[in-house]
Symmetry: C2
Subunit: 342 residues, 2 copies
Amino acid sequence: MIIDVHGHYTTAPKALDDWRNRQIAGIKDPSLMPKAAELKISDDELRESIANNQLKIMKERGSDLTIFSPRASFMAHHIGDFQVSSTWAAICNELCARVAKLFPDNFIGAAMLPQSPGVETKTCLAEMEKCAKNYGFVGINLNPDPSGGHWTSPPLTDRYWYPIYEKMVELSIPAMIHVSTSCNACFHTTGAHYLNADTTAFMQCLTGDLFKDFPTLKFLIPHGGGATPYHWGRFRGLAQEMKKPLLKDHLLNNIFFDTCVYHQPGIDLLTKVIPVDNVLFASEMIGAVRGIDPETGFHYDDTKRYIEAAKTLSADDRKKIYEGNARRVFPRLDAALKAKGK
Amino acid sequence: MIIDVHGHYTTAPKALDDWRNRQIAGIKDPSLMPKAAELKISDDELRESIANNQLKIMKERGSDLTIFSPRASFMAHHIGDFQVSSTWAAICNELCARVAKLFPDNFIGAAMLPQSPGVETKTCLAEMEKCAKNYGFVGINLNPDPSGGHWTSPPLTDRYWYPIYEKMVELSIPAMIHVSTSCNACFHTTGAHYLNADTTAFMQCLTGDLFKDFPTLKFLIPHGGGATPYHWGRFRGLAQEMKKPLLKDHLLNNIFFDTCVYHQPGIDLLTKVIPVDNVLFASEMIGAVRGIDPETGFHYDDTKRYIEAAKTLSADDRKKIYEGNARRVFPRLDAALKAKGK
């Protein structure tokens, strides 16, 4: 079985966009604020938006199951207040839950949180609980910078975040550390902000001792870990100067990387440098990079081809990357699969 | 000849620190503000600080000449106003000029600029001119985020920066794009902010068309380009979606990467993915990562070993990385060497 741990609902029906635009207009003029119930998307519309897009590509490329969460760049936690984020997160999570219900063999949900800059993180717990218990979601996306590129929240090692971690541990769900759109003109969203956030999150964890307080907490750092594996020597050296344990002991029981790296040399480096137990298959399609690479004739984000071609990997390694590691990092996913006899 | 294009004066005598601390105290209480002339460091002190540190290591590792600029993390352009930055930059640049004069075969200067957040960039031109013409400096370090991790300046493609670019073109000097210390708790200075800035700068250039306005402008992106080479497929794909030319045509006549990547797999990827003409030897020693890698028994920042061991490189490639590319990117360096018959 091939599990893609990083998929977003980037192809939701236009009605979702329209509702969100009305919500944003309603921040300034409350008379324009739509009710959640005014968003109407039929099961057929949902089916069509998936069957002709993600599911079609999954079948073409040969992956089976995608951990599916709301579109990352549209989370936009910086827009409005907690109430705005909360309503928006609930709507987006419910749509993913409906997709997972319509295609139970191919999609399983992960939640966006109703984060809002400066707001206490305990405000996210009810949505986490609902998504895990009512929707059968297996993970969350945690935004380390709900300000959208201004980085006004404390580092992930700060106690500010602990209520979320406590709930994650209680529910046995990991977090993918994933920022949203950048509203800082310096940072292109998918070309800079995403990768910077990955590197930043890793370094925050390296600097702190978060996993002493939460030994079972699990973070998935997407986009191949940003700059982390490429600079693994730098990070090993920095940890050494800080008198931290070796990275494998300090961080690699808790931090995992996905394979959203869109060329062969990048995947070769990732799978060579990072222990195979810490690498999880992912493509983030249909996402930031949708084109066909003229150097290969295949889609940039068809990451399975790179895993297949990575010379240092054995068949067992690939099985871990495709399935075994995901089952270990996402215990609720494993349980859901086992309940189906898979 | 082996030229290290990325060295900072990280070992300056303690008197420099003391003076800076007095200057910072003087921001709040002008009665404490020291005069520049109150900093007294003798030639012997300078000699000692270099001969026992950078020069000793250069001899041990087999490099000949270092492009030497003030300590990057101490530029701290966010501290004080333009006057504070201006005095500090002048002092730091003068010390590097004195080092270059004391060791003319081993060091040649590159300038820090008296940047200050929100201040017009034309205020940097006099220092640039002085350093190039009076001190024989061959480059500058340009800080894309003088706020120190808050990213309040416009992207490098904005006209805000054009006065500096016009002067760079006039003087035939390239800029290393190098941030300074982070005063944002989210970003560890050398483990996150530096690498993020490298990635950010590259993506800003990718998004814009700066090099149409300045076809001869040259940027050196340090630390192996941050996340850029590791995600080269992502960047190629993003450029493609934006209908930009191929990266080699869009950016690689103007953007170069150094080799400050502190492990073999990183250098292997860099030299495989980035055309050899765009890679310049550098170590940034004595810098962020000073320890010995227990996996190799050698210093992490002994990057020459990785270049020597990179299997895809020919002897000619190495000559370009060690010398030829630096002479091309830094024309004033080439001229200075030729004037000495080198």
